[in-house]
Structures are given as structure tokens and as C-alpha cells.
């Protein structure tokens, strides 16, 4: 243990900043009495997240350094992902506001839990040590359990929280067991040290394979990839839509980060062991997600399966273990987050006034009722399906290119055929919005009840998925540059 300098603390300033302000907001919220819920807490939370988002960008493209006695790493990847997490969460809260307020969820605690979740994600993103990694994962998970369970009157929410909690705890156990085995084998919890122990261990030794398998299983569970995906649809469906939005979109950045830290930094030398596992999980996720999504009649469940298949694509970029693959996976994660936030944003805009628009049929004839929202949803759906000229296409393009480059042409052909199956259910939403008319007697949403400001943010969010096309190369470059030093060749 060496002494800590201010430099060490400056490196984790964003985490400290968000955590401190979360405590402050919790207290302020208790003392500010107003007719509107969270009159003070909400603007403070948004201000915290936005300022933290900028704070994280400080130090972008400075040399990588490990601080706090090797617990936290500060590099360009973490700067970008942390910043993305903060801005993404701000957008999530912005969309969630009216929906959550209408259901009595909009309380100070909800915001504070969100903020602590952000701290957890930041810890995961900057983890250089298995302990930091685990603390980050658990902090985020506990906040999510709480946020889901907060909808007290809903049986489904309680069920979802319970399922998530129990299965999450199980996965954490597996992860911890893997970590402890790794510790036993290498004598250290630091990822750098683990990686340094490569030469001393036999690749085919059973304990090592067991440790890596357990770590991968734990990660796949957190990611919601096949075959550890069972919790995803139930949790998505049971949670209030505002919470679903939070837990489906933003943590994927952190999930990418822990995959990168653990598999590339820590276990990069043992790629032969985890590569096949990821391949099976990737193809399985793409297959199951796309096929089962077709059978869904609830948009939240449908998007849950869509997430599973999207995580499959993310893993597809990942498993090659090359720099191009990691870049592709990170671009995929970022674009996926932006797209998902927009998708749920539209759902939330539609379902505000005491009405859930979680059934697919609620989208019927949306083009008639609100052509602008329908157009935005159209763009989002085509982006999820990966049809050009949307950002979703470029994300898939990068992933497929990385896999072809690594020599996995057959895998790419298989995933592409499965993507066609997947296109069907995105098309179905478009079909409902554009081709179908509103049925008589069905309660319809006017869809004019949402805020004007929300309309603007949603517009920027969704149109941005197309408008970014001429500059998409700059996004790829930025992310590729930030990942310098990761991956083979």
C-alpha cells in the first residue's frame, strides 16, 4: 500500500462527484416540499448527470494510468463510456419523468437510486481490479432491484424484482466463485497481475478453465445472453416502463466495459478458452432473440428479446479478440444505447396519461394519430433492424466486418440469415403504425399529451440516428482510437 495523492482522487472525481451529490439530493428532497414531486431533486439530478458527463471527458486521450493502488484504471475508453453513461441516464430520466410521476414512482429515492446506479456503472467501467468490478456490478444491481420493487402496488413488479434479485444473486455467486478461483491460481485480484500470470499457468488446467467458465457465465448472465437470458423478458415486462428503459439501455455500456476489462485486459492471453463460449452465446442469442421475438404481443417483451439478439451481435464483435472487434462491439454498444433510449422514449410518450402502451396493438394507426412520433419510431425500428442509412446498420457492418476479418465467414452468414428473421418483427411495428387503422372501440391514446420539450429531445435522439451517417466515420475513429492497446494485432 502506498499513500494516496490528490492525483488519485482526481482520477475518480466523477464517481465521487456523483455519489456526493446523490447524498445531497436525497437530503434536499426531504426538505423541499412542493406540489410537484421532485421539484428540486429532478433538476439537480439532471444537472449532476450532465455536468458529470462533461467532467468524465476530462482526460480523454491522455495516457492510461492506474490509480488508487491499482483499483481503478483511467483511460480513454472509460472517459467515453462514463460520459455516455451519464448523458444516457440524463436522457432516460428526462423521458421517464411524466410516466413515472403518473404512477407515483417519481420520488427522490427513485432519482437517488438512479444516481447510485450510475456510480456503480462508473466503477464497472473503470475497474482494474476484480474487487472494483464486483462492487460496481453489485451496486448497480441493488439499485435496479430497488427501482423495480418501488412500484409497490404492482404484483408483476414485485415478481420481476424478486426474480431479478434471486437470479442476480446466483449469478453474482458464480462470478465471485470464479474470481476466487482465479485468485487462488494467480495470487492476485488485479487484472494486470492476473494477465501477467499467463506464463506460469498451464492453459489446459482444469481449475483455470473452471475459473474462466464461471467468470464468463456470470458476465453472460449480467448481459442477458443465451443461455442465461431467462430473466430478461420477465424483468423487462414486469418493471414500470421508465425503469425498463433505464435497465435495458444504459448498463449495456458498462456491460461492454466489464467484458473488455475482464476478457481482454485480464484473460486476453487465454482467449482460446473463452472464445468458443462467447461464440456459442453470441449465435445462440442472435438465434433465440430473433426467433422468439416474433411470437411476442407485448412490445416490452419484444424489445427484451431484441436486446438479447443485440447482445449476441455485441458478443459477435467481441469474441474475435481483435482490436477491430472490440471497436465494433463498443460502437455497437453506444449505438444500441442511443437507439433503445429512443425506442422507449416513444413508448413512454405514448403511454403517459394513465395508459400503458405496452401492447403491440396500441401502435395501430399511429401514423394517423401522430405522424411525427410514427416517423421517429420508424427510424428507430429500422435502426434496430440494421437497415441503412441508420446508425444501426453501421454498427452491424462493423461487427460483421470484424468477424469476417478474423476469418469467421460461416458465422457471419449464419447471423445474417438470423438477422433477416429478426427484421420481421421490427417491420411488424412499422406495419402496425403505418398499414393498420385504429380499431373501433379500442382505447386510443391521443399521443398529444406529452411535453413539447420531450418531443424535441426525442426528435434529436431519433433523427440523430440517420443524421449521423455522414460523420459516422468520426464516431468509429474516436472509439477505435480510445481502444488503442486492446486486442490482438
Amino acid at each position: 500500500m502506498t499513500g494516496l495523492s490528490t492525483h488519485d482522487f482526481w482520477a475518480v472525481a466523477p464517481e465521487i462527484y456523483v455519489a456526493t451529490l446523490a447524498c445531497v439530493i436525497l437530503v434536499i428532497d426531504l426538505y423541499v416540499r412542493s406540489v410537484r414531486p421532485c421539484a428540486a431533486a429532478y433538476p439537480l439530478t439532471i444537472a449532476t448527470l450532465v455536468s458529470a458527463g462533461f467532467l468524465c471527458l476530462d482526460g480523454l486521450f491522455e495516457p492510461t494510468e492506474t490509480v488508487l493502488n491499482g483499483l481503478v484504471v483511467r483511460d480513454s475508453v472509460s472517459a467515453i463510456l462514463k460520459s455516455g453513461t451519464c448523458f444516457g441516464t440524463a436522457a432516460v430520466l428526462f423521458y421517464a419523468r411524466d410516466y413515472a410521476a403518473a404512477r407515483g414512482l417519481w420520488r427522490g429515492e427513485y432519482l437517488v437510486l438512479t444516481l447510485f446506479g450510475v456510480v456503480g456503472m462508473m466503477a464497472m467501467i473503470g475497474a482494474a481490479h476484480l474487487l472494483t468490478l464486483y462492487v460496481g456490478i453489485e451496486l448497480l444491481a441493488l439499485c435496479l432491484y430497488g427501482m423495480i420493487a418501488m412500484e409497490r402496488d404492482s404484483v408483476r413488479a414485485a415478481e420481476a424484482a424478486m426474480k431479478y434479485f434471486i437470479l442476480g444473486a446466483l449469478a453474482s455467486g458464480v462470478l465471485l466463485y470464479g474470481m476466487s478461483l482465479l485468485y487462488g491460481l494467480t495470487g492476485s485480484l488485479s487484472l494486470q497481475a492476473v494477465s501477467g500470470a499467463t506464463g506460469t499457468l498451464e492453459v489446459n488446467s482444469l481449475p483455470l478453465m473452471l475459473a474462466i467458465s464461471m467468470l464468463v457465465v456470470g458476465l453472460l448472465f449480467k448481459l442477458g445472453a443465451v443461455p442465461f437470458h431467462m430473466w430478461v423478458p420477465d424483468v423487462y415486462d414486469g418493471s414500470a416502463t421508465s425503469t425498463t428503459l433505464y435497465l435495458s439501455a444504459v448498463p449495456k455500456l458498462a456491460a461492454f466495459a466489464i467484458l473488455l476489462r475482464l476478457l481482454s485486459t485480464g484473460l486476453g492471453e487465454w482467449i482460446a478458452i473463452w472464445q468458443d463460449m462467447l461464440l456459442v452465446a453470441a449465435l445462440g442469442s442472435i438465434a433465440l432473440g430473433n426467433v422468439v421475438a416474433i411470437a411476442q404481443s407485448n412490445i416490452k417483451r419484444m424489445l427484451a428479446y431484441s436486446t438479447i439478439s443485440n447482445m449476441g451481435f455485441l458478443l459477435l464483435g467481441f469474441f474475435a479478440g481483435t482490436h477491430a472487434g472490440y471497436s465494433a462491439a463498443m460502437v455497437y454498444a453506444v449505438i444500441y444505447m442511443v437507439t433503445t433510449v429512443a425506442a422507449f422514449g416513444v413508448i413512454l410518450a405514448l403511454s403517459r396519461s394513465g395508459f400503458e402502451s405496452s401492447d403491440l396493438n396500441d401502435f395501430k394507426g399511429l401514423n394517423r394519430r401522430n405522424p411525427w412520433l410514427a416517423l421517429l419510431m420508424l427510424i428507430v425500428m429500422f435502426s434496430l433492424a440494421g437497415i441503412p442509412p441508420t446508425a444501426g446498420f453501421f454498427a452491424k457492418l462493423m461487427v460483421l466486418q470484424a468477424a469476417v476479418d478474423a476469418g469467421f465467414v460461416a458465422v457471419v452468414v449464419a447471423s445474417v440469415i438470423l438477422a433477416v428473421i429478426g427484421a420481421f418483427y421490427y417491420l411488424r411495428i412499422v406495419k402496425l403504425m403505418y398499414f393498420d387503422e385504429v380499431e373501433e372501440g379500442v382505447l386510443t391514446v391521443s399521443a398529444h399529451g406529452y411535453r413539447r420539450s420531450m418531443r424535441w429531445v426525442l426528435t434529436v435522439n431519433a433523427i440523430g440516428l440517420i443524421a449521423v451517417t455522414p460523420w459516422i466515420g468520426n464516431v468509429m475513429d474516436l472509439i477505435g482510437r480510445s481502444l488503442m492497446g486492446f486486442g490482438l494485432s
Binding site: 401514423n367 405522424p371 420508424l378 457492418l397 412499422v430 406495419k431 403505418y434 398499414f435
Partner: protein, 495 residues
């Protein structure tokens, strides 16, 4: 003027797209007239802009002209690379002409979501021109796929009763083929030391096995689009259900993209595989020419009949491409342009009838000539052109293809020539049952003849058909050097 020429292709692509967005911005159906006029202005100006492409085109070189090239995604060496040669120029002009036709044809017929309808066609126009101009693999793919979105909406929103099924089938069929093409492009990117330059792919040495796989992947994309037997089944559905304008664009332009893809991508990149698969492609083409023509004979629905006739005529095109002979290939390209006019016009004729009686069944009609003489003239004229009557554009294309094929294999030519009989049979039989004969349906006797708008549209199409039919030399001149160069390239093995 120089600056104009340097960016002419970009202008042709993006001007209609911007126009489409502006039309969309006119909003609801209360401003329908504004949307219509705006769409007309944009389509006419786009056509005017495309004229310099024809007049300023240097007919003595096979090189790409009006080239624009600038880096786009440098990480993957994806470029914004546009250019046209003698093969793509006629197709670009066909696109700009037919978009005007479609806009005018939809003027009164479309009464709901007017702005969206015209916006979709304008955006389509830009994207289709993009397909014909793109020389970068990813840029090509981008336009190729993006085009599906407006077409999907056109079929699905303004289409007939079974439109949803047709739209989704159309989309998924095309998507599957296209994604395999994407994999092939990615593979070529890897082999070519990191480039998506289609022209560089032409000169890329590839082994036989690789060529076979790449050709098959491209074949999946293009054969679906053309469409060739046995992946043609989406076309009758999409054609029948699409609104008139959608059918016109589908038949006249999007089908040509498949053939264009063979010319620009599949054949020059994998010439040995193209030769290797030529018997198969020729066989499928002849199957389309004869068997699909027989199916067309049996149709009760006019649009379905024209749809099957399209497949049959596109069989001629693929036949012309894959016998590797100058006249046949020129004939195939003329046939592409000609079919654009003829099938487009026939769909418009059916549209004229459908707007009046809301039926596409042949049996509904009969004796139309007695109440609509002017319309009857056009319908018979286009039917004749479809059957390949000398003096019309249909004759030039088919004749050149048969002539060229004959010098390669007399049997192929003999089978292909059968179409002159069967093709005449189904079109004339349809015309006989619809236009001639006695009036059996009281509603037919109340039909009104063409109004000025319809007359103008059909007259324009008829002029196109006649000009190409009587004086095809300018069209052949434009493409000659490019076709020769392509055939020279194809004759050299890459192995």
C-alpha cells in the same frame, strides 16, 4: 459550369431526397395541393438536371464520367465514390423520367396521406439514382437497402387488400439476398487489402472457388431483385398489391437494378464464375421466358398478368447478359429501358381502369373501346409494344437479344423466340377480352375516357416507346463503348 458537372451526380441524388423531405414537411392532407405541386416541381427539376448527363456524356470512352470521389469513412476506406458510364446513364434518365410520370399519375388517385406518398417517391428517386451511380461497395449497398424502406411503405400504406403480406414478403426476400451480398462485399474488402472500390474489385485476382461463392452471394441479391425463377414469387404479390405508382417504379426501375448489379458487380468481379454459371442462368432465363409466359396466359387479374410478363421479359435481359455477346448485351440493356416504359405504361393503363371501376379482373371489362376510344388506342399500342411489335422499343431489345444469342447457340435463340408467340398470345388475349368485344358489364358503359392528365402521361410514355423503337441509335451509341469494354474484361480469365 465546371463545378456543376463535378457535382452533378450528387445533385441528382440529393436534390430529390431534399425535395422529399420538404414535401413531407407540408404536413397533413389539408395542404395536399401544395405537396403535389412541390413534388411535381422537384421531379421536373431533377429531370432537367439529368439532361446534361446525356448531352455532356462522352460516348467515346468506357471510363467512368462525372466522377466524384472523396473519403467518407476512412477507417474502413469507404469512399463517397460516384460515377456513370454508358450502362448507367440510360438508367438514370429512365428514373428521372418515370418519377415525373408517377407523380402526375398519382395526382388525383392518392387522396390520403398525400404528402407522405409523394415524399416516398421523391426519396426513392434519389436512392435509385444513387444505386446506379455508386462505385463504392458500401455506398452501393446503402442505397440499395435504403430504397427498401420507402418501397415497403408505398406498398403497405397505399396498396390493395393484401398489401401487408405483399410488403413484408417483398422486404424480407430482398433483405436476405442483400445481406448475403454484404457478406460478399466484406469478404472482398478483406481480400483486396482494405478497399470497397467496386472498380478495383474488377481487377482483383480471385481463385475459382472464391469466385464461385462470391458470385452465388451476389446472385442471391440480384436474382431476387430481377426476379429470376425460382425466387420470383414476391413480384406478383408486390405488383398486384402496390398502388399504380408503386407498380410502375417496381417494374420500370427496381427490377433493372438486379440486372445492373450483374453488369456492374457480379459479372466483372467473378468473370470465371459467371461463365461457369452461365448455363444455369441461361436455363433459368429461358424457363422464365417460356414457363412464366405460359403462367401469364392463365391470369385473371390484369396486374398479375403484367407482373408475370415482367418476369418473362426480364428473363430476356438475363439471357442477353449471360451469352456474353455484344449485340445480345446491348439488346438486354435496350430491353431494360424499353421494358421500363412498356410495363410502366401498361400498369398505368390498368391504373386508369382500376381508378374507375376498382377492379383489376379481366372479366369485369370488355368492350372498353366503345366508351373509351382514346384509352383503347394506348392500351392496344402498349400491348403491341409488350409483344415486341417492330417499330416499338420492345422489338429492338428482343430482336438484338435473339440475334446475339443465335450466333452463340441456336437452340437458346429458338427457345427464346417462342416468347414472340406466347408473349403476343397473352397480351393480345388480354386486350381482346378487355378492350374489344361486347359490353357485358353495365358499369363499363358508363366509363369516361381519359382526362387531359392521363392522356398526357400515356402520350409521353408512348413517345418514349416509339422513339426507342424507331431510332435506337442514340441509345446504342451511349452504351456501345462501355459494353465492349465490359465484354473484353469478361473474356479474360482471372484464374
Amino acid at each position: 459550369m465546371n463545378l456543376f458537372n463535378e457535382h452533378l451526380l450528387s445533385l441528382l441524388i440529393w436534390f430529390p431526397v431534399v425535395g422529399g423531405i420538404l414535401v413531407l414537411a407540408t404536413g397533413g392532407d389539408r395542404q395536399a395541393m401544395a405537396a403535389r405541386w412541390l413534388a411535381l416541381v422537384f421531379s421536373v427539376v431533377t429531370f432537367v438536371l439529368s439532361v446534361p448527363l446525356w448531352t455532356g456524356f462522352n460516348r467515346s470512352t468506357a471510363d467512368m464520367q462525372f466522377v466524384e470521389r472523396s473519403p467518407w469513412i476512412e477507417r474502413f476506406h469507404i469512399e463517397y465514390f460516384l460515377g456513370v458510364d454508358g450502362i448507367s446513364v440510360p438508367l438514370v434518365l429512365l428514373t428521372t423520367i418515370l418519377t415525373i410520370v408517377v407523380v402526375v399519375a398519382g395526382w388525383k388517385v392518392i387522396q390520403t396521406r398525400v404528402a407522405q406518398y409523394f415524399a416516398a417517391f421523391l426519396i426513392m428517386e434519389g436512392l435509385m439514382i444513387g444505386v446506379f451511380c455508386a462505385l463504392d461497395g458500401i455506398l452501393f449497398y446503402l442505397f440499395w437497402e435504403a430504397m427498401l424502406i420507402p418501397m415497403f411503405l408505398i406498398v403497405g400504406v397505399w396498396g390493395g387488400p393484401n398489401r401487408v403480406y405483399a410488403a413484408i414478403k417483398f422486404f424480407l426476400y430482398t433483405l436476405l439476398g442483400s445481406l448475403l451480398m454484404l457478406v460478399a462485399l466484406l469478404y472482398l474488402y478483406q481480400v483486396s487489402e482494405r478497399s470497397f472500390d467496386l472498380l478495383a474489385f474488377h481487377h482483383l485476382p480471385l481463385t475459382g472457388g472464391v469466385q464461385t461463392l462470391i458470385f452465388l452471394a451476389f446472385f442471391a441479391a440480384f436474382a431476387v431483385k430481377i426476379p429470376m425463377v425460382p425466387v420470383h414469387t414476391w413480384l406478383p404479390d408486390a405488383h398486384v398489391e402496390a398502388p399504380t405508382g408503386g407498380s410502375v417504379i417496381l417494374a420500370a426501375i427496381t427490377l433493372k437494378m438486379g440486372a445492373y448489379g450483374f453488369l456492374r458487380i457480379a459479372m466483372p468481379i467473378a468473370p470465371d464464375a459467371a461463365h461457369q454459371f452461365a448455363p444455369l442462368v441461361v436455363g433459368l432465363s429461358l424457363l422464365a421466358v417460356v414457363y412464366i409466359a405460359l403462367i401469364a396466359l392463365m391470369q385473371q387479374d390484369m396486374k398479375k398478368l403484367i407482373a408475370y410478363s415482367s418476369i418473362s421479359h426480364m428473363g430476356f435481359v438475363t439471357l442477353g447478359l449471360f451469352v456474353f455477346e455484344t449485340r445480345a448485351m446491348e439488346g438486354a440493356i435496350v430491353q431494360m429501358i424499353s421494358h421500363g416504359f412498356v410495363s410502366g405504361a401498361l400498369f398505368l393503363c390498368v391504373g386508369v381502369l382500376y381508378d374507375r371501376l376498382h377492379s383489376r379482373e379481366i372479366a369485369t371489362y370488355g368492350g372498353v373501346m366503345k366508351v373509351m376510344p382514346v384509352f383503347a388506342f394506348f392500351m392496344v399500342f402498349f400491348a403491341m409494344a409488350n409483344a415486341g411489335l417492330p417499330g416499338t422499343s420492345g422489338f429492338v431489345g428482343e430482336f438484338l437479344v435473339i440475334l446475339g444469342t443465335f450466333s452463340v447457340n441456336a437452340w437458346y435463340a429458338a427457345i427464346a423466340a417462342l416468347t414472340l408467340i406466347v408473349g403476343a398470345a397473352y397480351t393480345l388475349w388480354m386486350v381482346k377480352r378487355v378492350v374489344f368485344g361486347e359490353i357485358n358489364n353495365p358499369k363499363v358503359s358508363e366509363l369516361k375516357d381519359l382526362d387531359r392528365r392521363e392522356f398526357g402521361v400515356l402520350l409521353g410514355m408512348a413517345l418514349g416507346v416509339l422513339i426507342i423503337g424507331i431510332w435506337p441509335a442514340p441509345l446504342l451509341d451511349v452504351m456501345r463503348v462501355s459494353v465492349d469494354q465490359l465484354l473484353t474484361h469478361l473474356a479474360v480469365s482471372k484464374l
